[in-house]
């Protein structure tokens, strides 16, 4: 995905408190035209608050919001070219699906024919053209969600805000809606800001992910950057499964490598940060970064732990093993099934070699 360069919306040093509680603490964020941006973070970290500030339901205590370079300052929601898909849909119960979707266009005083054409076009897009005369209460959760989406999208806003719009749906419907949402975004070319606390959803749908923590932004990046190069342990822990190994730098080998001791194992690590000898470090290894070999197997590891399998979990495509290192620490390794090796499995208690491919580790300091 090429990154569109043009900035659509800018949050500059936004502060927001409710009473004595600081909810957003100097948040700055650029949103690019046409991108699918996801705000990801645990409950209460301020995701909804950011959306409400952008939509105009709340005003910042400090800082500025710029749309196309112009401050939105205190423009009320009805004057912003921004539409929201609410978490609880907020469909108007006294109106038909058609009237719900037509509401925004009627407010713009468009002609009857144009309203009819555009509403039916959008309803067709979300495959609800046959439901136009129904009341929202006569629809399933997934259908209501699509009406909410259609009601916002029909206005062709510069920016579409979606607050946990999929979290109420069951797994299958949710997967389906994720794909539909992506397709819709591509077709309309509208900028989406999507809120979720589901990291998998964030990674699979977004062009960029914003990881939040207690009212500030921890990292902004592509899903790949967030996953492979988390800037902090918090991000590493929040996004995907991870093994965090404790270690200590022994000495620097050259510009790129140090020799370190990790959970009792002496090994070379890729460390570009200037760290003094003896500094404590944390080594992040994703479960799929680990390689596990039975003792009799040939292997290409340069260094390894002698571990013991204590648990294994069948995960469909992969096999997940919990392995105990000599010092007692437990780590999780995840391997694809090997078609050439039908017996690929470990028995609990089995002794194995476990290591990782050199350079796949990510070394971080405490934060």
């Amino acid at each position: 995905m090429t990154k569109p360069a043009e900035i659509l919306l800018q949050l500059r040093d936004i502060q927001k408190s409710f009473g004595s509680r600081t909810v957003l603490d100097h948040v700055s964020l650029d949103i690019y035209n046409g991108e699918f941006l996801t705000l990801l973070g645990p409950s209460g970290c301020g995701k909804t608050t950011i959306l409400r500030l952008i939509a105009g339901f709340e005003y910042p205590d400090g800082g500025e919001i710029l749309l196309n370079g112009r401050p939105l300052s205190h423009a009320p929601p009805e004057q912003r070219p921004i539409n929201t898909v609410f978490q609880n849909y907020a469909l108007f119960p006294h109106m038909s699906v058609f009237d719900n979707v037509a509401f925004g266009l009627k407010m713009k005083r468009l002609g009857k024919d144009e309203i009819r054409r555009r509403v039916m076009e959008v309803l067709t897009m979300v495959r609800l053209q046959d439901y136009a005369t129904r009341r929202p209460t006569q629809l399933s959760g997934g259908q209501q969600q699509r009406v909410a989406l259609a009601r916002a999208a029909v206005n062709e806003p510069a920016l579409l805000l979606l607050d946990e719009s999929l979290s109420a749906l069951d797994f299958k419907l949710r997967k389906q809606m994720q794909m539909e949402l992506k397709a819709l975004q591509r077709r309309l070319g509208i900028t989406f800001v999507f809120v979720t606390h589901d990291q998998e959803e964030a990674l699979s749908m977004s062009d960029r992910v914003v990881v939040m923590r207690e009212g500030h932004i921890e990292q902004i990046g592509t899903p790949r950057q967030i996953y492979e190069q988390p800037r902090t342990l918090y991000v590493a822990n929040f996004v995907g499964d991870s093994n965090i190994l404790e270690g200590r730098i022994l000495r620097r080998l050259d510009e790129r490598y140090v020799e370190a001791e990790v959970e009792g194992l002496v090994c070379p690590l890729l460390v570009k940060q200037p760290l003094t000898d003896g500094s404590p470090i944390k080594v992040l290894l994703r479960p799929e970064d680990l390689r596990v070999y039975e003792l009799h197997e040939p292997h290409q590891l340069e260094f390894w732990f002698d571990g013991q399998v204590i648990e294994r979990n069948y995960k469909g495509m992969t096999l997940e093993s919990v392995i105990r290192l000599p010092n007692g620490k437990q780590i999780i390794a995840s391997e694809f099934f090997d078609e050439n090796d039908p017996d690929f499995d470990y028995t609990p208690g089995e002794k194995v070699r476990v290591g990782w491919v050199r350079n796949w580790e990510r070394v971080m300091t405490d934060d």
Binding site: P77, L91, N155
Partner: protein
């Protein structure tokens, strides 16, 4: 378990007995009475007749009925006009304020309504509070004739029945999801349009309920017109009362009473049919 069941049966029995004794039997008596014949010495005679109902269509009574309906309708509109903004703002107020504000609406109930009606009379009288103040201020030269007018009756009815409009309105307004207003704003509706397109349609069940709760009693509260209205501003309730107490024509009074009850029941039934659909949508949400 059986203990609980016994308690339940007992309470259902008690309620049934109560309803039969104080609701069913009196109403049946009225119903039967309404098709009997008047008797000077015994109030009624066991002689069936529809005459009582026919007499209701006498122009004299029809006129009283229409005038009473007119005053009741004006009262209802006035109550709606006064209650809606109030209920709306109470519903918007912070939670801890709401109960206090509603309490203020209910407190006047603690004083007997008859006494409050006499209070209105004291205010409206020729030498009453209002006239005295207006005269003192020099706004008028001679006292206004306020008492024993249609206006006085409507004023009294409005004053006494206003809470019955406020409470159902508040109940629906409070339940409207604030997200709906935000969604409307988000879609470009300003405050005025949000009010007319979201708040008003969604509060309609409360408007209808409140209107019925004002309109129906306004047809029957004879003591208001007795105290404030004089001879020309009767309500339907006056007819019924005078037939029982003054004219001693129980059967005719019963017929009038039954008719009023039936009209009220029909209106309530219509409301029920309308609101059932509305409510279903609100509940299913």
């Amino acid at each position: 378990m059986t203990e609980k069941n016994r308690l339940r049966s007992l309470s259902i029995l008690l309620i049934s007995v109560w309803l039969v004794l104080f609701v069913l039997i009196p109403n049946l008596m009225i119903l039967v009475l309404s098709i009997l014949t008047r008797d000077e010495s015994q109030f009624y005679r066991w002689e069936y007749t529809w005459e009582n109902y026919q007499r209701l269509f006498d122009p004299v009574y029809l006129q009283v009925f229409l005038h009473s309906l007119w005053m009741a309708v004006v009262t209802t509109l006035l109550c709606l006009l006064l209650a809606y903004p109030f209920a709306y703002f109470v519903a918007q107020a912070p939670k801890r304020w709401r109960n206090l504000l509603l309490l203020l609406v209910i407190i006047p109930f603690w004083t007997n309504s008859l006494i409050r009606t006499y209070a209105i009379k004291v205010i409206l009288g020729t030498k009453g509070l209002l006239n005295t103040v207006l005269l003192e201020l020099g706004l008028i030269e001679t006292p206004l004739r306020l008492l024993y007018t249609e206006t006085a009756v409507i004023l009294g009815l409005t004053y006494l029945l206003l809470p019955f409009m406020i409470l159902p309105l508040f109940a629906v307004l409070e339940k409207i999801d604030p997200n709906l207003n935000e969604a409307a704003a988000d879609l470009g509706a300003n405050a005025w349009k949000r009010f007319w397109r979201i708040t008003v349609p969604l509060s309609l069940p409360g408007v209808i309920a409140g209107s019925l709760m004002v309109l129906l009693p306004a047809l029957g509260m004879f003591y208001i017109s007795d105290i404030l209205g004089g001879a020309k501003n009767l309500v339907v309730g006056n007819i019924i009362k005078s037939q029982f107490l003054d004219a001693r024509d129980w059967p005719f009074g019963s017929a009038a009473s039954v008719t009023l009850t039936v009209v009220m029941a029909l209106m309530l039934f219509a409301y029920y049919r309308v609101s059932r659909n509305q409510n279903r949508e609100l509940i299913d949400r």
